[in-house]
């Protein structure tokens, strides 16, 4: 236990280090480059380009989904990931093939980051037969066994226990995989989260708990809902190390993710990453977002946008020209438009699908 406690302290220290750049960046934004800050890892050009493309795909995909919702092509709930792209992309850059991902209902970005097809995701949003769940899941419920994406869960906090269960399976099979369970600052107050923290640390399960703190649980700000707003400390009483990470900087995310995943993969148990991030859009499409000021949103977009940060570095440090950006943007628009086109014209599921996939047939003994 003494060791575990010390680890936590180390985590808290690392957290402080992780937090510094965010503050510094906020202060120095607009005044000049914030590059002098130590401990911010650097990306080479290929890494920057990869992060840029992947994040831009999510951004454009989500913008398109928002449009299609407005056109009535997408129904029900639709929670957009715009603003938070660096979190899942940075995490994926540090993970290995076979590692599992599970999240809540704000899940489109995670699916794209896991390599799931834009067409299949968009067609699920429109409730068509070509969707990942053949139109039976919708925005909040998509899965891909092939890509190790385990959903897509609509009950706040459920994915934390389920994600610990994925980690349990890795522990049971001793297969070296790590599970990444994403949840928000709202879910972080659910009881089952702490039940899962306890068991994950007790059994040293290979799980990384990624708390995407976007500051609002639907319309309730973190300060109004949480007695402890430093989410990296939420595992302290279990001896789970945690860090606060600038979740708007994909480099900081990947750096922290590498540490956390390594910790989990080497049998040391779970790790908590609090990703300090921000969602630009409302909680869901029907949210007028009156609980925060337009200025606040505007400031985040102008000063911290995860995609603009990468774009700036690519321009300044890697001398990427306007034509090259245009080519990337065009390519991504093509993917997204193709997905939208497919999702608009793909037929609805056959009515016989109403009664399929309720139970599996047992194998004949």
């Amino acid at each position: 236990m003494a060791t575990a406690a010390r680890k936590t302290k180390a985590g808290v220290t690392a957290k402080a280090a992780g937090k510094a750049p965010a503050r510094a960046a906020a202060k120095s934004a607009g005044k000049g480059p914030a590059k002098a800050i130590p401990n911010v890892p650097t990306f080479n050009k290929d890494e920057e380009l990869h992060a840029y493309r992947e994040m831009l795909l999510i951004r454009r995909f989500e913008e398109k989904a928002g449009q299609m919702y407005g056109m009535g092509l997408i129904g029900g709930f639709c929670h957009l990931y715009i603003g938070q792209e660096a979190v899942v992309i940075g995490m994926q850059m540090a993970s290995k093939d076979g590692d599992q991902v599970i999240t809540g209902y704000r899940d489109h970005g995670h699916m794209l980051a896991c390599g799931m097809e834009s067409r299949g995701v968009m067609a699920e949003l429109t409730g068509r037969r070509g969707g990942y769940s053949r139109g039976k899941g919708g925005s909040m419920h998509m899965f891909s066994r092939e890509k190790n994406f385990y959903g897509g869960h609509g009950i706040v906090g459920a994915q934390v226990s389920l994600g610990a269960g994925l980690g349990f399976a890795n522990w049971y099979r001793q297969d070296g995989r790590v599970s990444m369970a994403y949840f928000g600052d709202g879910a972080a107050n659910q009881g089952q989260v702490y039940e899962s923290f306890n068991m994950a640390q007790l059994w040293k399960l290979p799980v990384v708990f990624v708390i995407e703190n976007n500051r609002y649980a639907m319309g309730t700000s973190v300060n109004r809902a949480s007695a402890q707003t430093d989410f990296s400390r939420r595992g302290v009483s279990f001896g789970i190390p945690g860090e606060q990470v600038d979740g708007m900087d994909v480099r900081a995310v990947r750096e922290a993710a590498s540490r956390a995943i390594e910790h989990a993969r080497t049998g040391k148990g779970p790790y908590i990453l609090e990703m300090q991030t921000y969602r630009y859009r409302g909680h869901s499409m029907s949210d007028p977002a009156k609980y925060r000021s337009k200025d606040e949103v505007q400031r985040m977009r102008e000063e911290h946008d995860p995609i603009e940060q990468v774009r700036g570095r690519l321009t300044r440090e890697h001398k990427l020209g306007e034509d090259e950006f245009k080519a990337i943007d065009a390519k991504i628009r093509e993917i997204v438009n193709d997905a939208a086109e497919f999702a608009t014209h793909d037929p609805e599921p056959d009515v016989s699908e109403l009664y399929t996939d309720i139970l599996l047939e047992p194998a004949q003994a």
């Binding site: 039976k136 610990a164 269960g165 899962s196 599996l360 047939e361």
Partner: protein, 469 residues
């Protein structure tokens, strides 16, 4: 006045036990609080403390005596230099618990298919339903061994764990403690701590972990100490386990068994007595199994563990200690979703499941003495429900009584009644009757609890009513 030391009960359901060891000898002085003996049941070992002071004048039941009924005098304490031989209890004979009373009527013998029903009369009535023939599951002359429900469940798990390395058990007290009700006895020793896992008392969390593991293809058996506690976990059972296959368009199966005692035990109050059969029965994506006999429990649990779907396996604490004949060998399977005609009859159909079968079978026996031959059907699986077998019987008897311990409103018997009305209305000579637990939270007081539960008399009365007798 000498004081009798009585055989104590370790739990409300204990009827008998073994007097394992005396820790005091005749003539020893005893103070209140002294440990004087150890007793054992198949569930646990307990120390017997003296409540009175004096001298252990006489030992009435020797070390190692089995089947000592609760409240039998096992020794006598003499107070203030009394003569031990004057002890009142000394004359009383040791009374082992009557075995016959423990054992319910033998349903196993009546596995024959019912005689062919009469052909349907009019074109408007449904075609003859076909009754499931359970005789092939348990062929006449099969080699059997008598075992308790508890042992049958344990053997089912052990056999399936030997067969498939992906099967594991998790739950509270399943490993080191050997099971709160000793159902997982010996599993830790055979399979080790990676496959028999003690969890903290956090049902919501470990149910979620079990479901997560099942989504990757492992086959967890999640034991709830009782299904009352599964209320903490019901979100994962329903929202995560039952719905994910559908929501994933068939990609994410969830091969998991949730099992444990369900329903009333004895004198444990409202929060530990709820029968959840009707709750889980309501949910597409689940299969719900509720066996009565040890043979069915074993065969069904093995099928449940092999099944690729989430299964709710509802056991009963009172049945754990009952013995039944179970076929020998590790290849005995009972199919999920098939009822069993356990007693053929022609006058009235009595349908039940789980512990409700004790009332159904007891009533059938009593009715027989009055010239009414009841056909008794054990549903065994609640969902999917083998209504065909029930309808086939009702088409023959034209009368039906449905029996359950659960609450009446929206209960399983309500469902049975409706299904019969939909499929065999024209065959009915009387409205379907039901006998259920009363519509009240379970009371603690012994007399009230007895009133809250169904009994054989209720079933007999209902059967007579539908027979207009």
């Amino acid at each position: 006045m000498p004081i009798d030391i009585l055989m104590p009960a370790l739990s409300p359901t204990m009827e008998q036990g073994k007097l394992a060891k005396w820790l005091k000898a005749e003539g020893d002085k005893i103070k209140a609080g002294d440990i004087i003996a150890e007793i054992e049941t198949d569930k646990a070992t307990m120390e017997v403390e003296a409540v009175d002071e004096g001298v252990l004048a006489k030992i009435l039941v020797a070390d190692g005596t089995d089947n000592v009924a609760v409240n039998t005098p096992i020794g006598v304490i003499a107070v203030d230099g009394e003569d031990a031989s004057a002890a009142s209890g000394a004359a009383k004979a040791v009374a082992p618990a009557p075995k016959a009373a423990e054992k319910p009527a033998e349903p196993e013998k009546a596995a024959e298919a019912p005689a062919s029903p009469a052909p349907a009369a009019a074109a408007s009535v449904p075609a003859q339903a076909k009754s499931y023939d359970a005789s092939s599951e348990f062929p006449a002359g099969a080699e059997v061994v008598s075992m308790t429900m508890r042992e049958a469940l344990r053997d089912a798990m052990a056999e399936e764990m030997r067969r498939d390395a992906d099967v594991f058990v998790m739950g509270e007290e399943v490993a080191e403690y050997q099971g709160a009700y000793k159902v997982t006895q010996g599993l830790l020793q055979e399979f080790g701590a990676r496959r028999v896992i003690d969890t903290p008392i956090t049902e919501h969390g470990f149910a979620g972990i079990g479901v997560g593991a099942a989504l990757t293809g492992l086959k967890p058996i999640v034991e709830f100490m009782t299904f009352n506690f599964a209320m903490q976990a019901i979100d994962h059972i329903i929202n995560s386990a039952a719905k994910t296959l559908y929501m994933s368009g068939g990609q994410m199966g969830c091969p998991i068994v949730f099992r444990g005692p369900n329903g009333a035990a004895a004198r444990v109050g409202a929060q530990h007595s709820h029968d959840y059969a009707a709750w889980y029965s309501n949910v597409p994506g689940l299969k719900v199994v509720m066996p009565y006999s040890a043979a069915d429990a074993k065969g069904l649990l093995k099928s449940a563990i092999r099944d690729p779907n989430p299964i709710i396996f509802l056991e009963n604490e009172i049945l754990y200690g009952r013995s039944f004949d179970v076929p020998k060998g590790d290849d005995f399977l009972v199919p999920i979703g098939k009822a069993k005609v356990v007693r053929p009859g022609s006058d009235v159909t009595i349908v039940s499941f789980g512990i409700g079968m004790t009332y159904a079978l007891g009533a059938a026996e009593a009715l027989s003495k009055e010239g009414i031959e009841a056909e008794v059907i054990d549903l065994r699986t609640i969902r999917p429900m083998d209504i065909e077998t029930v309808i086939a019987s009702v088409q023959k008897t034209n009368r039906c009584v449905a029996v359950e311990e659960g609450f009446p409103q929206s209960g399983i018997t309500a469902e049975i009644g409706m299904k019969i009305m939909e499929a065999a209305f024209d065959y009915l000579d009387a409205p379907v009757a039901r006998v259920t637990g009363k519509d009240v939270p379970m009371p603690y007081a012994a007399n009230l609890e007895k009133l809250a539960l169904p009994n054989i008399g209720d079933v007999v009365a209902a059967a007579k009513a539908v027979c207009y007798r």
